[in-house]
């Protein structure tokens, strides 16, 4: 991966992530997150993982964020900006501590990961990230995890149906 496009895209990704958090307008925030997802998809493309990139766009930018927007628009959260201002002190404190912890974690792990990446880069096969390889990995090496995830999603779906039915009755 060439460094210059990566840095430029990273700046865009970070800028939009910040905009997402700092934006007063919830819908604008959601749109910033969509841009962020799109940039992440481009990162996957640069790594040669076309399949993951497209899935990232289709699932996150295309489906999940549309549902988010859907809810935001239905509730039309606009007049509630005052509510966001009155955050209790304790919340800010906890957020700060957790944030510093996360940064420290990255600081410790990043050098280790960099060391690992150097060793692994040679072992990456040519068709890394191709749909076939991703499918084989999912359904052979990680079948149990895959099935558990599917089961959890199914349970969530049934829960949603039950809740919706109860409201109708």
């Amino acid at each position: 991966m060439t460094l210059l496009p990566f840095v430029a895209l990273s700046v865009v990704a970070i800028a939009f992530a910040l905009l997402l958090v700092l934006n007063r307008n919830a819908v604008h925030g959601a749109l910033c997150l969509v841009v962020n997802f799109a940039v992440v998809a481009v990162f996957f493309l640069m790594l040669g993982a076309e399949f993951i990139a497209v899935v990232q766009v289709a699932v996150y930018a295309g489906a999940i964020m549309v549902l988010f927007l859907f809810v935001l628009m239905l509730l039309n959260i606009q007049g509630q900006e005052d509510g966001l201002e009155q955050k209790p002190r304790s919340q800010i404190l906890i957020a700060a501590v957790l944030g510093i912890l996360l940064l420290a974690e990255i600081g410790v792990l990043a050098p280790m990961a960099a060391g690992l990446g150097g060793a692994q880069a040679a072992a990456v096969p040519a068709d890394f990230g191709s749909p076939k390889l991703v499918g084989l990995t999912l359904f052979q090496d990680h079948l149990l995890a895959f099935e558990i995830a599917a089961f959890i999603l199914l349970a969530a779906m049934m829960g949603a149906v039950v809740l919706a039915k109860r409201r109708l009755a």
């Binding site: 497209v54 766009v57 930018a61 489906a63 628009m73």
Partner: protein, 379 residues
């Protein structure tokens, strides 16, 4: 000329050509749609401007461009400007992976007649079509108009729901081809001698219905139901911004027809052993689909919104899953005889499923909450 330079120039030329053709197809399609619908309704249609009224869309375009751009008060400006662009860009970009002919040789180098032959072509189109929702959704929300918002909400729910049956239909086709590349799907149909419309009849029908909903075309044009929502999500748009929604819609129509052609009708190859003419057969097939969509539009009345959603979730998706399961089993167990086997299975299945839809559809209709009869006007 170095190879890289040649690739760059070829890609650029192809991109510009596809863009130009798509954009010049839009006015033609608007004219065709008005004419076809008029003929079906025993009217004459546009006939004042140019021969056969052919210049009518040009006149309309000029009118739309020089019209005043009204930006209503209370509009969310950024998203209001962004929405028309977001509805046309995915439509144009999706065409990039559609192959429209056999590779040709220019200056001793082969050039694929396709802007980009990516090995995940179909997924790319699905991803872009899922992005197309944003144009409609944001237009409706940013307009600060209740009708627009209602239209936007309806269409985003509808488009998300109907993406699933489209996905299921596409996956069945991909199973047959064993590849996500559109070019490989066309090659499979040429080599096996079967157009996938027969072995994948169910997928084909699902795709036709669901894509009509995805295109927001009548009878599924809930997002802009004139009789209920004024004009739905684009109520507050004027001038060229309004025209951009229109263009997006027609470019999408071409893209979906091209996709259907590639997946089910053998792509650019000639039917019945007729002589191959580059690109011509592709256009013929695309126009056959386009005329079909127009025919549907002229024939069927708009479906009620809750029935539309019920149909998508309770009929199309289960049928899609059933078809996917059958396809998977046949392809796994009898890969070498998959084509004739699936043709037989699918034709029977189509008959059975048709009967089921007829019965289940009636049940859904009976169960759907009826609206109270409207009180007499002035009573």
């Amino acid at each position: 000329m170095s190879d890289t330079l040649f690739t760059w120039i070829a890609s650029l030329v192809k991109a510009v050509l596809v863009f130009a053709v798509l954009m010049s197809l839009v006015p033609l399609l608007i004219w065709l749609e008005r004419k076809v619908v008029a003929w079906m309704q025993q009217r004459i249609g546009p006939n004042r401007c140019g021969p056969f009224g052919l210049l009518q869309p040009m006149a309309d375009a000029v009118k739309l461009i020089i019209k005043e751009n009204i930006i209503p008060a209370g509009v969310d400006r950024v998203t209001y400007y962004l929405a028309p662009i977001l509805s046309i860009v995915p439509a144009l970009a999706a065409f990039a992976v559609v192959p429209f002919g056999e590779p040709v040789t220019i200056l001793g180098r082969t050039v694929a007649l396709q802007v980009a032959d990516v090995n995940i072509g179909i997924l790319y189109i699905l991803a872009l079509s899922s992005l197309a929702v944003y144009g409609v959704t944001l237009a409706g929300w940013s307009s600060n108009n209740k009708y627009s918002l209602l239209g936007a909400l309806r269409s985003s729910a509808q488009m998300i729901s109907y993406e699933i049956p489209i996905g299921l239909a596409v996956v069945s086709v991909v199973l047959m081809a064993g590849s996500l590349s559109l070019k490989d799907i066309v090659d499979l149909q040429r080599e096996s001698g079967y157009w996938l419309v027969f072995p994948q009849l169910i997928s084909f029908i699902i795709f036709l219905i669901a894509s009509n909903a995805e295109l927001n075309r009548p009878p599924f044009d809930m997002a802009e139901a004139e009789s209920e929502l004024v004009a739905g999500f684009h109520t507050e748009y004027t001038g060229f911004r309004f025209a951009m929604f229109f263009m997006g819609e027609y470019v999408n129509l071409v893209t979906v027809s091209a996709l259907a052609t590639v997946m089910f009708l053998g792509g650019w190859h000639a039917p019945f052993g007729l002589p191959e003419i580059p690109i011509v057969w592709f256009l013929v097939k695309i126009f056959a689909f386009i005329i079909f969509y127009m025919w549907i539009r002229a024939t069927l009345p708009r479906i009620r919104y809750d029935l539309l959603m019920a149909f998508g979730w309770k009929v199309l998706i289960p049928v899609g899953f059933l078809n996917l399961a059958v396809t998977a089993v046949v392809v796994t167990l009898a890969a070498d005889r998959a084509m004739p086997l699936l043709t037989a299975v699918n034709v029977t299945q189509a008959v059975v499923v048709g009967a089921v839809i007829k019965i289940a559809g009636r049940r859904v209709e009976r169960r759907a909450p009826r609206l109270a009869p409207a009180p007499e006007a002035g009573g």
